[in-house]
Amino acid sequence: EPEVTQTPSHQVTQMGQEVILRCVPISNHLYFYWYRQILGQKVEFLVSFYNNEISEKSEIFDDQFSVERPDGSNFTLKIRSTKLEDSAMYFCASSAVQSSGNTIYFGEGSWLTVV
């Protein structure tokens, strides 16, 4: 079964450093997303991406965050200058179409620990 893959599975970084989290969405999907889950809390939407541009973003997705689809398969989330509160599990997700029956598939996540 096709799946969303994410790398790295776990990354420890120093505060103020830049981090890039990588994702390979399901191959025929057109909509891509990043979510995050701080330990013990809800899964929160960060950003959605379609047709090479951001279609929606949350208040969490401030100027420190950016997304890119550098080629036909990868989708990345960059955090420019990490803060302690950025420590979380980051999930990439993808979906095929925009409709009422739109299943969104998630990857295994990337644990980010900022020290």
């Binding site: 809800k42 029956g101 739109n102």
Partner: protein, 112 residues
């Protein structure tokens, strides 16, 4: 207002019993999706129910949706120890694009 509140927050049952989890939401939705998350792992999609559907089945899973009460339930029948996980409902709101709004989750523990 918070979209997506599950209850109970935690549920402990014996293997073979049925587990029922409930989800309430506040806005108009296009669909509601249930996900499972094993500790520290990714979100596994279980089932999607559209706003014009009332009930769906998938294997041992049964999901109901009552849009008049803005609530959904997930029933797992004949539970197994491997069903131990957190279960989340997530809604796609009408006019809210494709994004999902997640609930707080129910931690299910199935004991042998």
């Amino acid at each position: 207002s918070q979209q997506g509140e599950e209850d109970p927050q935690a549920l402990s049952i014996q293997e073979g019993e049925n587990a029922t989890m409930n989800c309430s939401y506040k806005t108009s939705i296009n669909n509601l999706q249930w996900y499972r998350q094993n500790s520290g792992r990714g979100l596994v999609h279980l089932i999607l129910i559209r706003s014009n559907e009332r009930e769906k089945h998938s294997g041992r899973l049964r999901v109901t949706l009552d849009t008049s009460k803005k609530s959904s339930s997930l029933l797992i029948t004949a539970s197994r120890a491997a069903d131990t996980a957190s279960y989340f409902c997530a809604t796609q709101q009408t006019g809210g694009g494709n994004k999902l709004t997640f609930g707080t989750g129910t931690q299910l523990k199935v004991e042998l």
